[in-house]
């Protein structure tokens, strides 16, 4: 189960590595749904290349497609993206408060060392 979830995350992260795919996602966020040719329009790459990017996004669960007449509508599917950010945030929740305490501790030490240096006058002003 963990493995399955891991693989899902790996796919999402792999999909997000590519700037074209990120641009597609950002655009879908604004547009609700788009046809494949509308998605391809702003990019200097050929339609098959865009289709390949859409396949990668689809495999990662980041977009869904629905046929409408002769066109295919692509929509953003945000759930896997949330899962991916939640995953990263767990690490952030671990380290971020720790780094804040590190900063507070080092700043306290700096004040102490600074006070000592001030006392021992210019002679001790080598920094280390």
């Amino acid at each position: 189960m963990v493995n399955y979830q891991d693989r899902g995350l790996d796919r999402v992260f792999a999909a997000l590595v590519d700037p074209t795919r990120r641009a597609i996602l950002a655009r879908l966020e604004r547009e609700e749904s788009l046809s494949i040719s509308a998605i391809a329009a702003p990019f200097p790459i050929k339609l098959p290349a865009v289709m390949k990017h859409l396949d990668v996004l689809g495999d990662a669960g980041l977009v869904t497609r629905a046929k409408r007449g002769r066109t295919v509508d692509i929509r953003l599917s945000p759930a896997p993206l949330r899962e991916a950010t939640d995953w990263l945030r767990r690490y952030e929740r671990f380290w971020s408060p720790a780094l804040d305490r590190l900063a507070a501790y080092a700043e306290g030490r700096e004040a102490e060392v600074g006070a000592c240096e001030a006392q021992s006058g210019e002679a001790g002003k080598t920094g280390e």
Partner: protein, 152 residues
């Protein structure tokens, strides 16, 4: 890829920040996700030296991480491997990730860049790619703002 990057500006000179990262007294003052004292810390901050840190989280669970110092350049750079002996995130058990800390002197003291890299196997394969974390966060923010939908 899956690396986490955090940046902090600290009003202290790099050598002081570096010592806070590499001495038992220093590490005891800040390590861990919650504001609890460390259960134990062993630190041998030289290349090839080991560290081992055990801490308790607010839920009462104990976690122990250990690793080896890979780079020790006072007061600029520190890198170490990172592995959980027990506790930690389930998917990280048995995996080795990497922590890198870079210290840069700035007017106000030190800019610290903290990177927890290689958080999964797939990750290490693509770790040369940077900068997606920010994009991801931005996208997530955009998505959080939608949800309400309607206004196209």
């Amino acid at each position: 890829m899956t690396s986490l990057v955090l940046v902090r500006r600290i009003a202290a000179r790099p050598s002081i920040v570096f010592d806070a990262l590499t001495t038992v007294d220093g590490v005891a003052a800040w390590w861990g996700p919650d504001d609890l004292p460390l259960v134990r810390a062993e630190i041998d901050a030289r290349v090839g030296g080991a560290f081992r840190v055990r801490f308790r989280t607010l839920d009462g669970q104990e976690h122990e991480a250990f690793g080896e110092y890979l780079e020790v350049v006072r007061p600029e750079r520190l890198a170490m491997s990172w592995r959980y002996a027990f506790g930690g995130e389930p998917e990280e058990l048995g995996r080795t990730s990497r922590i890198e800390i870079a210290l840069k002197p700035v007017d106000t003291g030190t800019e610290l860049t903290f990177t927890h890299a290689e958080l999964s196997n797939e990750a290490s394969r693509m770790s040369h790619e940077r900068g997606w974390t920010g994009s991801l966060a931005k996208l997530a923010r955009l998505l959080a703002n939608t949800g309400k939908g309607d206004s196209r």
